[in-house]
Amino acid sequence: MVKIEPHDLLQISSVEDLSGDNLPVWAKTVFPNSLTVVVRRSEILNKQIPVGIRGVKREQRFATYIEETAIKNIITPYELVNAKAWERVSEARKELPAIKALPFVADVLQGYNWGISGSVGFELATKTESAKTTSDLDLIWKPNHSINKKTAQSLLKDLNQFGVHADLQVIQHNNGFSLEEYANSSSSIMMKTLGDPILVEDPWIEK
């Protein structure tokens, strides 16, 4: 069995692979362009993989499931970085703030095990126009060591000097937390888990 993690992008063959028959109308028109779903942070039960599909508008998100056997290809947010996927978009798309910032962000994050999620990751992986002029740059980072709040603040400052709001989620196995929240926190912060989110005092301690 392949390892599937939240934020991974899964290519499937057809709309029919999505479970349930209550798909919104936009899903049937927009989804076939990419045939790509995003793995949600939720439990895999009975080999049903929790995924989301995205439309053009922000509120066009729909949660569903696919069978593991429906997966044709997996693209991880980390692969997009290793392949420098931002170099392979059209000149016009390179002008979007969130895409334009990527080569600079890559310099800042040299040596980090990081990936691109959100609308930008989806666009780079699927070659469909998903990012907007106003899109944030959603990044994930799988650390092999913890960093203190001061280092986190300075890293976020470095990442946010390229004309787009960069949001870095720190990945701890199946869980994730916002580096920005950690950097500015005085007490507890939110940890997203496969189940309900929880509040933790120290996000670096494995639960």
Binding site: D167, Q169, S178, P197
Partner: protein, 98 residues
């Protein structure tokens, strides 16, 4: 984008402002401010069409914790689970270092 407004007749006055959450996809910012007027909740959300869900989440919250406050919420497509957690976290901050 949608703006939502709710009022509640809750009377446990809060003594200080608190701010929790972050501006990030799937998350929200919650700000509680003391008020001597009726409890008011103003929400700006990127996800349209969830008024009913917000109403239920808030009603359950105020049934349990009848605080009197002016509440501002900036939502970036969070789930009800995340909303509940942020509201609880704001309450905890209220009771911290009092």
């Amino acid at each position: 984008m949608e703006k939502l407004h709710f009022n509640f007749d809750t009377k446990d006055a809060i003594s200080k402002p608190v701010h929790v959450g972050v501006v990030a996809s799937g998350d929200l910012e919650v700000i509680f401010r003391p008020t001597d007027k009726q409890t008011e909740v103003n929400i700006v959300t990127g996800s349209d069409g969830f008024k009913e869900v917000w109403s239920n989440v808030l009603k359950r919250f105020f049934d349990r914790y009848p605080i009197q406050a002016n509440i501002e919420i900036n939502d970036f497509g969070s789930t009800p689970g995340v909303v509940n957690l942020r509201l609880t976290q704001a309450l905890e901050e209220l009771h911290d270092e009092k």
